[in-house]
């Protein structure tokens, strides 16, 4: 019984250690280009954004409305809730040139696109 306990404790420890190793933050390889969009009165402004291709991006979403919104994009593979009167940053990996649409998941009338060139 003692052996089993010890073994399972060791295994739990190994599992935890593995978890920590995975969690250690990696150095940022490349400085991200910041892109900003504002959300107010249920609309993105501007609704057409521009960004450079092949560079990691940091998309700052400022929500000026008094209710929360969820910035979501299937092609960018991001989603993030931005609380009322606050802002959120989304990290986006380097993109190929193209048009990437996004919207507010809580209000699908609000739409916009990121044009990557």
């Amino acid at each position: 019984m003692f052996i089993i306990r010890t073994l399972s404790k060791l295994a739990t420890f190994a599992f935890a250690a593995w978890g920590l190793a995975v969690l250690v933050p990696a150095a940022h390889a490349q400085q991200a280009t910041e892109v900003q969009v504002t959300y107010s009165n249920g609309q993105f402004q501007p609704s057409d954004l521009k960004a450079p291709a092949d560079k990691p991006l940091a998309l700052r979403v400022k929500n000026l409305d008094t209710k929360a919104m969820e910035f979501e994009s299937k092609s960018l593979r991001v989603e993030k809730v931005v609380a009322a009167k606050s802002e959120g940053v989304l990290n986006i990996r380097a993109l190929k040139p193209g048009r990437y649409e996004f919207y507010d998941d809580f209000n699908e009338k609000a739409r916009g696109a990121l044009n990557v060139q």
Partner: protein
């Protein structure tokens, strides 16, 4: 009303599937309803707290608070699920024989239930906080239309409960002996999927940048946002564009679960006999 219904249902759906599985896993354990209910209520309370402090949470860790919080609670759920499987590998047989035979088994049984209640709580917390934020925004700003929105939200919630019930009833159709195997596999895949999801949150926070190239794209066949895609995402961690790291984490959790179960499961009965 329809918009509220769809948004609420989409969020509750995942929690419904998970609770359905956990209800099936614990079907034979006495007083399990109390534990699961505690998990649901605890998760709902947590969701309201998270929603209330959403802005503050977001600002933590240079704007990556939400991502890291999600990764952390998913990590907790993964540990709990894995621990449950390992515990069941050791005690499952005694438990099936007679739950009440030994006082120890009952005490340990509630330990395992606590782990699963935590998993339920995490599932409700993650999905519930978005629902709470959405509904709160609707209630505070759209005065007049809020009643019909509340109805939409309520129906969405009821549909989520129906998903939970269907999952549970469906699993109970499997006879008890194979059911134990099925739920063990389901819980392992659920844990691996959650671990991969935690990895994807860490990737979004830029905390995890190793092995970040996308391994394949099955979006043309089964997109993430389709109903089947979402179901498989919850159940087995399906994603149409996994990164190398997500895949590595997924496989590691499966391997670790298997090894831990072998380690504790096969030898314990022999030692007991001795």
């Amino acid at each position: 009303m329809l918009a509220a219904l769809i948004i609420v249902f989409r969020e509750v759906f995942e929690a419904g599937l998970i609770i359905g599985i956990i209800l099936a896993v614990t079907r034979a354990v006495p007083r399990r309803n109390r534990w699961i209910l505690a998990g649901v209520l605890g998760g709902a309370l947590g969701a309201c707290i998270v929603a209330a402090f959403a802005g503050a949470l977001s600002r933590l860790f240079s704007g990556m608070g939400q991502e890291l919080f999600n990764a952390a609670i998913l990590g907790v759920a993964v540990v709990m699920l894995t621990w449950h499987n390992v515990w069941m590998a050791r005690h499952g047989k005694e438990l099936a024989a007679d739950m009440r035979a030994t006082g120890l088994a009952v005490a340990d049984g509630s330990k395992s239930l606590l782990a699963l209640a935590v998993v339920v709580g995490v599932a409700v917390l993650r999905e519930g906080s978005e629902v709470a934020l959405f509904l709160y925004g609707v209630v505070t700003t759209d005065g007049g239309s809020s009643e019909s929105f509340a109805w939409g939200g309520f129906i969405g919630l009821a549909l989520g409960a129906a998903v939970c019930l269907l999952t549970y009833q469906g699993l109970l159709r499997i006879p008890p002996r194979p059911l134990f195997k099925v739920t063990t596999v389901l819980i392992s895949l659920l844990a691996a999927g959650m671990a991969a999801q935690a990895a994807s949150f860490l990737e979004r926070a830029n905390w995890l940048t190793a092995l970040d190239s996308i391994m394949w794209d099955t979006g043309w066949l089964l997109p993430d946002h389709s109903l089947l895609g979402r179901t498989l995402h919850t159940l087995v961690g399906y994603t149409d564009q996994p990164t190398g790291m997500q895949l590595a984490v997924y496989l590691s959790v499966l391997l670790i679960t298997y090894l831990l179960m072998r380690l504790t499961g096969s030898r314990a009965p022999v030692m007991h006999a001795a």
